[in-house]
Structure formats: structure tokens, C-alpha cells
Symmetry: C2
Subunit: 141 residues, 2 copies
């Protein structure tokens, strides 16, 4: 049960931190392969799981999407892009929601809540407005 700091584990963790993004297992695998070509995807999955259990990183489970991993294990909320699935941190007054949210409902004992913001990221927004500019003279189907 003692956690060993293997080469693989270290590289995965460093790559995730270096990215400053919320990467999926396969994105991370592609990056890590560059410095360790024989690493397997299963190892990446196993280590991400282990490290998120150990609290070194956080596992993000966004509705209906591939899991992503966060170099920042502290509790915070996220926003994701409808178009490209990119995930970023978001800050808002979580306490206020905590005050107004119910403590129990329908016999449930409530242990927590998750807030996901949904939107269009800067780069997709830019692409969209370029596209609609171009399409202006034609129709917009």
C-alpha cells in the first residue's frame, strides 16, 4: 500500500502540472509518450487513478464527457466549452449557494453538490464570429 514514486508516475504528474490544463488520460498519454515512448495507456490510467485517490491531483467528472484530470487538487468549480470540451477553472461565490441549498431532500442525506458552468470558450467564440461574418452574404443554415 506504500506509494512508490516511479519514473512513470513522476513524468505523468509533471506533465499534468506543466500543462496547466485539464487533460484527459489519452491527451496526457500522447504528451508523456514523447519522453517515455514505451509507456502504456493503462499505466497512465492507473497512475491518474492512484494519484487522485492520494489527493495529489483531482479527477474531474464532467457530465456526459470523458474524465479529465486537474493538477490542482483543491476544491473548486469548472466551466467547460460546449464546442471543444475544453475545461477551465471558474470562481464564484460558492458559500452563497451553500447557504441557500437544502440540507436534505426526499429522504436523502446531502453530502455535497457540484456546479458546472457551460459556455463557449474564447477561441471557439472567435471562430464562430469569423464564420458568421463570412456567412453573412449567403444564408445562415
Amino acid at each position: 500500500m506504500v506509494l512508490r514514486m516511479t519514473n512513470q508516475r513522476e513524468i505523468i504528474l509533471k506533465e499534468l502540472q506543466r500543462s496547466r490544463q485539464h487533460l484527459s488520460a489519452d491527451e496526457l498519454y500522447e504528451r508523456v509518450k514523447k519522453s517515455m515512448p514505451r509507456i502504456s495507456l493503462a499505466t497512465v490510467y492507473r497512475n491518474l487513478e492512484t494519484m487522485s485517490e492520494a489527493g495529489l491531483i483531482a479527477k474531474l467528472e464532467i457530465s456526459g464527457r470523458q474524465k479529465r484530470f486537474d493538477y490542482d487538487a483543491s476544491h473548486h468549480d469548472h466551466i467547460y466549452c460546449l464546442q471543444c470540451s475544453r475545461v477551465d477553472n471558474i470562481e464564484f461565490d460558492r458559500d452563497l449557494l451553500g447557504q441557500t441549498s437544502p440540507r436534505s431532500a426526499k429522504g436523502y442525506q446531502i453530502t455535497g453538490y457540484r456546479v458546472e458552468f457551460i459556455g463557449i470558450c474564447a477561441s471557439c467564440g472567435r471562430k464562430n464570429s469569423q464564420r458568421s461574418q463570412a456567412g453573412n452574404k449567403k444564408s445562415n443554415g
Copy 2:
């Protein structure tokens, strides 16, 4: 593009409504099979997709879990059980969150947000307290 009300579609819809629960595609498939044994799981998936696009039902995408479908298509929030994955409706003051939540962040144009409550449902809570009663005389590992 015209929606046909086939036998399959009707049975799926009625079964979902009758259940008054938030069922997954395969749970629904098992129920529907009783009155229509030759129906295929693909048909269930296709119809759930079609009907949620048409606004007849709602598709629930809960973090890191199988999709579930809601006979009530109106917008409301949900709570799910950590132990058995059961999903129920929950009511809370959504407007208040709307007022305090940001309208944009990190270049994102925010189009919505989703709140998920997490907890232990009544029946799992009961099981747990029975178990801990029984385990009281021993240790609690």
C-alpha cells in the same frame, strides 16, 4: 424528418412515464422487453435520443455516470445517490444562484450552469445504519 409514433416509441415513452423514475437505457430496455420481447437495445437508444431532441423527455448527463432519462422534460435539478446511483429531482432556489453566478469568465461566454446534488438516498442510509449497528460490537474497518 416527421416523427412517427411507432409501437416501440410509444411503449418506451409510456414505460418511462409509468416508472416515475430516472432510468438508464438498459433499465428501460429490460422493462420494455417484457411487453415487446424482440425490441433491440439500439432501438431504445435511438428513441430516447430522438424523443429527448424533440423535447418529449430529458436526457440527464450526470458526472461520470451512465446517462439517464427523465419523463419530465421541464428544467429542474437533480440529486444522485453516491452508493446506488439512483437519481431524484431536487428543488432549490435556482434564481439565487443565477443572480450571483458570473456572466463571463476567462473569455468564456457563459450559456448556462448545472447543479448536481450528491448524497445518500433514504434506502442506502437505512442499510448503512443497520450495518453499523451490527458492526458496533466489532471494529469499524
